[in-house]
Amino acid sequence: MSTMAVPEVAVAPVDEGFWTRTRKAGAVLLALGLLGAVLFGTLATDQQARFTLSEDAAGAALEVNGTLGAILFGVVTIAAGAGVLAGLPKRWFTLVLGVGLVAFVLSFLCWQVSAAPAGQNFMPLVNIIRGTFILALPLIFGALAGVLCERSGVVNVAIEGQLLMGAFSGALFGSISGNVWVGLVAAAVGGAFISLLLAVFAIRYLVDQVVMGIVLNLLAVGVTGFLYERLMQTDAQRYNSAPRFSNWEIPLLSDIPVLGPALFRGNIFLYLGLLLVLVIHIALFRTRWGLRTRSVGEHPTAADTLGVRVLGVRYRNVLLAGLVAGIGGASYTLALYSFTKNMIGGKGFIALAALIFGRWSPTGALLAALFFGFADQLATYLGAINSVIPSQFLAMLPYLATILAVAGLVGKVRAPAADGKPYIKG
């Protein structure tokens, strides 16, 4: 009886007049460029802005006069904006947009770095890049967990809980056994435990998936908080002193200037995260598993009529998501800190935003996570050089960007069609 939306009438695309989506983006870029060239150019000082290729002020650096740099990069942004406005070919759009935005950020940095107190007007690129990745890491794992779940049609709001449970059980079992690998496996199992609850209630008992996700987050906070106080705080030596993965230098790659020390002297989680992005991306779009996963997330009835076991696929993917998020949680407790109450602190929700920002694709999610990580790192850096910009303002920007993205202002965002809809046979 339902009227299926059959795209029979492929009428001409919406007539937006002159202000197409592309042109609007161009106009925004143009405005940003003007802001950079004029405002940042005026505020910047005549000091050199140094971007050192190391972890401190020493060594080789890219140098530019502050005022000149701010104006120059601002002009680049203006040019990019004007190009988009004038109607560049479509295939150039993403590239030009990217160049424009990067130039705007550089214009901003020229101002900030040159205006920093004497002796501090340098930016150590290695630190910035490394920090970006470290801050993005839990987001990457979390967003991948989201991709796995939601591509099969189960909304995963429980990423936060999965990360937290992973961090907790990684710390606990790592400490008890004294073995990092045991901790890693336990973390994955911990994340999968939250996933199992999500799967059973969402798939078997058809509980609203968003509500279930929120409840599971609260459950994870409660359970880990309780055990933390009862167990870890009473005997931290025994229960909350997990061994940590050391940093591994990758031969050859670690000798690349800037990128080498920033990325290839990291720990297992960094490598694992990047590898998983690649593997899941290929698997999702190139393999049988991926085709079935996507079909179940888009049109489960169609998949069912072709003999794909819809519920089976969903169970498997939700559990896989838990494993991934659990490992993401361990990237805290088995590499950086010991466990503390509610230590994920909302990163799971930001991962959800990265998932949406990245349009439900693993590589998109990676880029979104890096963007959030960079903004985070920049806020820290600006705090350190006593910038006039309040760091809270910068910390807000990623979420503003997410709202714009989710509102559909940055390209078309389309969730899997059956995302969040339980499948009931017949």
């Binding site: 339902s2 009227t3 059959v6 795209p7 009438v9 492929a10 079935r292 072709l306």
Partner: protein
């Protein structure tokens, strides 16, 4: 079923045809009874067992993933893979398989096209190719012609004949008598879940219809010539978008006079839904104007439109027409619950509502256990009668009826049709939208054909079906005179020329 046979399963809506076939395809489990294939009983746990047994099905609502390509849809569930457990998709081989099958049976599809960009007729072809690549011997087609233009239907029939020639058996589920007579080798008629008879295609339409309904029915509507009065509804240059912000109504001009039925014919999805919703104030009007009895309705709320004397029978009764959990009585006053005698500002008057409901139920022959029964428990036909009863209980200037008899049994269709004509004879202007061409021809005094958001022709009710059919496919009489043979390719708008060879096969068989 015999090999190489086309077996039509004929029955009214809700007679149990689709349920039977879903059992046969393993989607539903039978409560009792068994299925025999080649003499052996078959136990189907799911569709994959059915596929393995050589049974394929083209569902009424297509089972295609809209964002996948044709090849991806076809390979799904039976993927050819390389690389061991990694299971990399072998798209090249799959594409070759698609090309091979579409070549062999003359079903032109582009393996790399994305489903949501394809017209319905082509999507159906993809469904058939999908079944054929799985080497089925028995193909079930569930109401395949419901969404097709008459020309696309002709093409489908030709495809069915060529499949038959290749030794495939086909179960053809439908409630359209003409198609059955044109193609079937054997006809089984189902009524209320039981087989009530078999017939040969030589049986007359009246015989088949009587078998289907259980008594003889009139297939035509008795009506006197219309006596049109002044214009009631005037639509000029109307432009409306659909939910996806795609232009759905693109400059429509319409006038409906008092005392006439204007029928809007067209294949579903050509903007009819949006046209009506815009008139009712349910959808923003981007350009153009709508006037009702001389007054512009721009910016009116739906409530105001209704109160101005417009009756509205919506297209999808379960979504827009009724609150299923509410009782029949409550549904009968959904439009005037706040007016005396049914309500006074704050409170409802249950007695008045119940009393009026009782009258309506008798007057409109609604079969329900009681006025207090939830309307969702009624059959489709009776639910529709509740809506008609509600809308015709007010003094009307204009009645808008969208697909008024979709999913309704033949007995109720007759009744609803007679009510529409009665309303017309009272001097109400009627705007009828239906994708059933027979209904439009039977009821309308003038027929407007809608195609791709425009009215491409307004013709009299005695215009030949074929001509209206061509209009529904977007082909105006001048184009036919000029273009001759190309007229047979309505589905090919985005698909290049369709299959002239299929037509050839068809006419040979007929000869």
């Amino acid at each position: 079923m015999e090999p190489g046979e086309i077996h039509a399963l004929l029955g009214e809506n809700g007679a149990g045809k689709s349920t039977l076939m879903n059992v046969l395809y393993g989607l539903y489990q039978p409560d009792e009874g068994e299925i025999l294939v080649d003499g052996r009983p078959l136990k189907l746990k799911g569709p994959s067992d059915a596929i393995a047994a050589g049974i394929g099905m083209v569902h009424q609502h297509f089972m295609l993933v809209p964002v996948f390509t044709v090849t991806e849809n076809i390979m799904l569930g039976a993927e050819q893979v390389r690389g061991g457990i990694a299971g990399f998709l072998d798209r090249r081989r799959a594409r070759r398989g698609v090309a091979e099958v579409s070549e062999r049976y003359n079903l032109r599809v582009d393996p790399d096209a994305v489903i949501e960009d394809l017209p319905v007729g082509v999507q159906q072809r993809v469904e058939i190719v999908k079944a054929l690549t799985r080497d089925v011997d028995l193909l079930i087609l569930d109401e395949p012609t419901a969404v097709l233009t008459p020309q696309e239907t002709e093409e489908l029939l030709a495809v069915m004949r060529s499949l038959k020639a290749a030794g495939k058996s086909i179960v053809f589920i439908t409630h359209k008598l003409g198609e059955v007579k044109a193609i079937a080798d054997r006809i089984t008629v189902i009524r209320r879940g039981k087989t009530v008879g078999t017939a040969s295609p030589d049986a007359s339409r009246d015989e088949l219809a009587a078998l289907m309904v259980g008594r003889s029915v009139r297939l035509t509507v008795d009506k006197s010539p219309a006596t049109p009065g002044k214009p009631i509804l005037e639509v000029t240059g109307l432009v409306v978008d659909d939910d996806r912000q795609v232009r759905a109504v693109d400059g429509v001009d319409l006038t409906v006079h008092a005392g006439e039925v204007l029928g809007v014919a067209g294949v579903q999805g050509n903007g009819q839904t949006e046209l009506i919703e815009a008139i009712m104030g349910l959808r923003p009007v981007l350009a153009g104007s709508v006037t009702l009895d001389g007054q512009p309705v721009k910016g009116w709320s739906t409530k105001k439109v209704l109160r101005a004397g417009v009756g509205y029978v919506p297209e999808d009764r379960s979504v827009d027409g009724l609150v299923k959990e509410f009782s029949v009585a409550e549904n009968l006053v959904l439009d005037i619950y706040d007016r005396p005698p049914f309500g006074t500002g704050l409170a409802l008057k249950p007695d008045a509502i119940a009393k009026s409901a009782q009258e309506r139920i008798e007057q409109f022959d609604v079969r329900t256990s009681s006025a207090g029964a939830p309307v969702g428990t009624l059959s489709g036909g009776n639910q529709q009668k509740v809506i008609v009863a509600r809308e015709l209980s007010r003094p009307l200037k204009l009645l808008i009826a969208a697909q008024p008899t979709r999913g309704v049994d033949v007995g109720s269709i007759e009744f609803i049709h007679s009510q529409v004509i009665r309303e017309r004879d009272h001097g109400t202007a009627v705007l009828l939208v239906s994708s059933e061409l027979d209904e439009v021809i039977g009821l309308a005094d003038r027929i407007a054909v809608m195609y791709r958001g425009r009215i491409i022709g307004v013709v009299g009710p005695d215009t030949p079906r074929e001509e209206i059919g061509l209009l529904m496919a977007g082909i105006t009489p001048d184009a036919v005179a000029g273009g001759g043979a190309t007229a047979s390719t309505p589905g090919a708008v985005t698909d290049g020329p369709a299959t002239p060879a299929a037509e050839g096969t068809g006419s040979e068989d007929e000869a």
